[in-house]
Amino acid sequence: MLLIWSLSPLIWQLYTSLSTPEALTRPLEINEFRWTFDNYKQIFQANPPFVRYLLNSLIVGLSSTILTLAIALPASYSLAKANNKVSKISKIILLASALFPYFLLFLALLEFAREMNFGNNLLALCIPYSALCMPLAVLLLTAAFKDLPNDLEEAARLEGLGLINRLRWILFPLIKPAIASTSILVFLFTWNEYPIALTWISKSELITLPVAIARIAGSSVYSVPYGAYAAATVVGALPLLLIVFIFQKRIVSGLTQGAIKG
């Protein structure tokens, strides 16, 4: 039941993307030209081709993920280790900002982009993106660091591992599942994010996936090209599915088991 609930929109999308416009408007009439790949052909042959948007989104997604992790990992480590008022207050502030509706920010962000000349720059997008993902990332990673038994790090200290070596050899490998799930969340966010991408990027060869899909949908005033629109969403969703499948094992695997004697 749950499966039907969550899968039916996807299946409908797939069905739409593979149908001719005629078949869509008259679904009950049997038509020999019902199934077609024209929608896919159409979006891949457009100028710029759809692959370009995928690539744009990929660039933004990867750079945001890397930037987020680069800042969130050291921050979370120190938050997890420090046990004073400052760290407690910062955690509360982080939680509050994680709950803040970011939609309210995008006008201010637009001004910021104009001021800094960040318009039409794909890599610049990772600044607001990682900033928006930072609270959640820090909270997730802090929890992961906190879950690690303290003994492990102390044993590593006695073995002569300095901070960098401890992070490199002991701590990061142990919180890999948390790092993977955080990365996926950040990547998903950037992949789907619309208002900032819409306002910061205007050149058609630089726009990201959600903006591109919206453009396809709104390309004509008189009709909505459902088929092409659906094809675009299917192509846009595939990489995400792929990522989740690849990382699934990592997320699930209980890496810390066996650290503590039973």
Binding site: E154, A156, G258, A259
Partner: protein, 325 residues
């Protein structure tokens, strides 16, 4: 090599964890630190290891002041209660990681790790991860890691507390063979008095962060310095009589015997302990525990008695011992 603690103090969150603790442990001596939970015994180890810094006082190894030097430079082999094996690394990697970081060549590191694996009969497990090992095997790996440090001092934090009783008995001689025969001081933290008595040359008893008594296991058992030590060490527990004239007397259950004269008693119940049996008695002096041979038979005109010199006398105010047993 000698370890000296010179009146060290440690406060955590405004609570005194360790107060004015001084100890000296000589070459090849095994000192057990024994005490109830929260008495500061683990903190003492962590202070010696350098994982915590003393608020005041100083620590020396071989006349070298190590109070403020980093844990690595103290060259300490520590076995954690949880073993603290790195779960994502194989046993071989667990053991060689430290050598690699300390800049020992690959060839040399392979040689050292395999000889230690050989010594502990762990070769066949070198490619496994800690999760695939039994408790005893994990404990031996943790021991191997400590041995590989070639330390000037061993610190064992409840190394056996997570093993079952049978395994403990088997591992004790092994631990003695590997560590206690060397010429490094060994500090062995435990809450198990049998373990402390069987492994250690001397026992230090800690309570509320203070050293209450230090001495050989026999000293501690025969002449406990305070009521706390007397009732903490020795199972079944010592009998303490109600206070009279500023004195509290104590008698160990095995020092009470059946006699023709003495005081009358009524048996409340009996615990069968295999070689012994423990009688819980109701007498005119209060409830007493008496430990007797298992095959003893009691008849109605038996009374209980004890020798005066076996009594432990404590001051009821200071709770300290006043006779020199």
């Amino acid at each position: 090599m000698t370890l000296i603690l010179n009146s060290i103090n440690k406060q955590i969150n405004k609570n005194w964890i360790i107060q004015d603790l001084s100890l000296k442990v000589k070459d090849g001596e095994c000192l057990a630190i024994l005490g109830p939970s929260g008495c500061g015994k683990s903190t003492t180890l962590r202070l010696i290891a350098g994982l915590e810094i003393c608020d005041s006082g100083s620590i020396f190894i071989n006349d070298e002041d190590i109070t403020n030097i980093s844990p690595v430079d103290r060259k300490i082999g520590m076995v954690f209660q949880s073993y603290a094996l790195f779960p994502h690394l194989t046993i071989y990697e667990n053991l060689s990681l430290g050598l690699k970081i300390r800049g020992i060549s690959k060839k040399e590191s392979i040689r050292r790790v395999s000889s230690i694996l050989d010594l502990l009969k762990l070769e066949h497990l070198s490619t496994r991860k800690p999760a695939a090992l039994s408790g005893g095997q994990r404990q031996r790996v943790a021991l191997a890691r400590a041995l590989l440090r070639d330390p000037s001092l061993y610190l064992l934090d409840e190394p056996m507390s997570n093993l079952d009783a049978q395994l403990r008995e088997r591992l004790r001689p092994e631990l003695r063979r590997l560590i206690l025969n060397g010429n490094q001081p060994v500090i062995y933290v435990t809450h198990d008095q049998h373990e402390a008595m069987s492994m250690a040359n001397r026992i230090a008893i800690l309570n509320d962060g203070r050293l209450v008594q230090i001495g050989t296991p026999k000293d501690i058992y025969k002449t406990p310095a305070s009521i706390f030590v007397a009732s903490f060490v020795g199972r079944p527990q010592i009998n303490l009589f109600p206070e009279s004239a500023g004195l509290i007397k104590g008698i160990r259950p095995e020092d009470i015997f059946l006699d023709n004269k003495g005081i009358d008693f009524k048996i409340l119940y009996t615990e069968w302990l295999g070689t012994n049996q423990l009688f819980h008695l109701d007498t005119s002096q209060g409830r007493l525990r008496m430990l007797c041979n298992a095959d003893i038979s009691i008849n109605s005109d038996h009374k209980i008695n004890w020798k005066q010199e076996k009594l432990h006398l404590f001051d009821s105010k200071t709770k300290l011992r006043i006779n020199n047993g």
